[in-house]
């Protein structure tokens, strides 16, 4: 039920704020968490990278050399692929990681504040050989770095 309400809210655009305001006033949602949850829901539900980036408000981010993405060239186990992202772009407030060929490319979004560094490590599932993209948000602008990860079947090289 909750998911249906949110979807209708997203589709309605401006009108959705009324519904959200009512929920906030009723104390059912904290304002910032409610907004963030709704903002990202479309991105997480997108089935292609372009739509996921649009959902994040990232459009077509520019490559940035100070956004460092570390992934293995070849993943021994597609179920556990280590991904490290370091953003040396000043004022990076969030980093998202997308896997192009996954059913839902947006895999995780991380936010940093109050002294946290814009650096994170995670482990992701890759269904097949795919580009992995890091997207950093800094001062309201979006930047990207990407690398291909080959996913092998049966341990043979790609």
């Amino acid at each position: 039920m909750e998911m249906n309400v949110t979807r209708r809210t997203v589709l309605r655009g401006a009108g959705s704020l009324g519904a959200l305001s009512a929920l906030i006033a009723a104390g059912a949602l904290k304002p910032i968490e409610a907004y963030a949850a709704e903002w990202n829901k479309a991105a997480f539900e997108a089935h292609d990278t372009a739509s996921a980036l649009k959902g994040l408000g990232a459009g077509t981010p520019a490559d940035h050399k100070d956004l460092i993405l570390k992934v293995p060239d070849i993943a021994e186990n597609g179920a556990v692929v280590p991904v490290d992202v370091i953003s040396n772009i000043p004022n990076t407030s969030s980093i998202a990681i997308l896997v192009d060929k996954n059913p839902s490319p947006l895999s995780a979004q991380f936010d940093f504040s109050n002294g946290a560094l814009a650096e994170v490590s995670a482990r992701l599932k890759l269904g097949q050989t795919s580009m992995v993209k890091a997207v950093a948000k800094a001062d309201g602008k979006f930047y990207t770095a990407q690398k291909e990860v080959k996913v092998t079947v049966g341990g043979c090289g790609g």
């Binding site: 839902s104 995780a108 109050n114 002294g115 946290a116 650096e119 994170v120 995670a122 599932k125």
Partner: protein, 104 residues
């Protein structure tokens, strides 16, 4: 049964690195059981780390995050106090741990 949450901290100079390991199957909702029935999605979809109630690091996770999520993150501690680590499951359940942090 894996621990719901294990925390490791390493301090190098000003920077504290936290390694969190969360015991959770992270069921994607794409698998089927032996009878061919879809196994419902059930994942940790959010994780936060706060220091004295202020959010340092927060994560929104999708089913593409590997089972037993392991996240590493870093911060420069600006004050001593209580670190709280919390994860939230799709079903709304929450698991939280607190640790004291002393900045000298």
């Amino acid at each position: 049964m894996a621990d719901p949450m294990k925390i490791r901290a390493q301090i190098k100079g000003d920077v504290t690195e936290i390694r969190v390991l969360m015991g959770h199957a992270m069921e994607t909702g794409q698998r089927k059981d032996a009878a061919g029935k879809v196994i419902a999605r059930k994942i940790i979809n959010a994780f936060t780390c706060t220091l004295n109630g202020k959010v340092l690091f927060s994560a929104e996770l999708a089913p593409a995050v590997s089972a037993n999520p392991a996240l590493n993150f870093f911060f420069t501690a600006r004050e001593s106090g209580t670190l709280e680590f919390k994860w939230t499951d799709d079903d709304g359940s929450v698991y939280a741990l607190s640790r004291s942090l002393t900045v000298t």
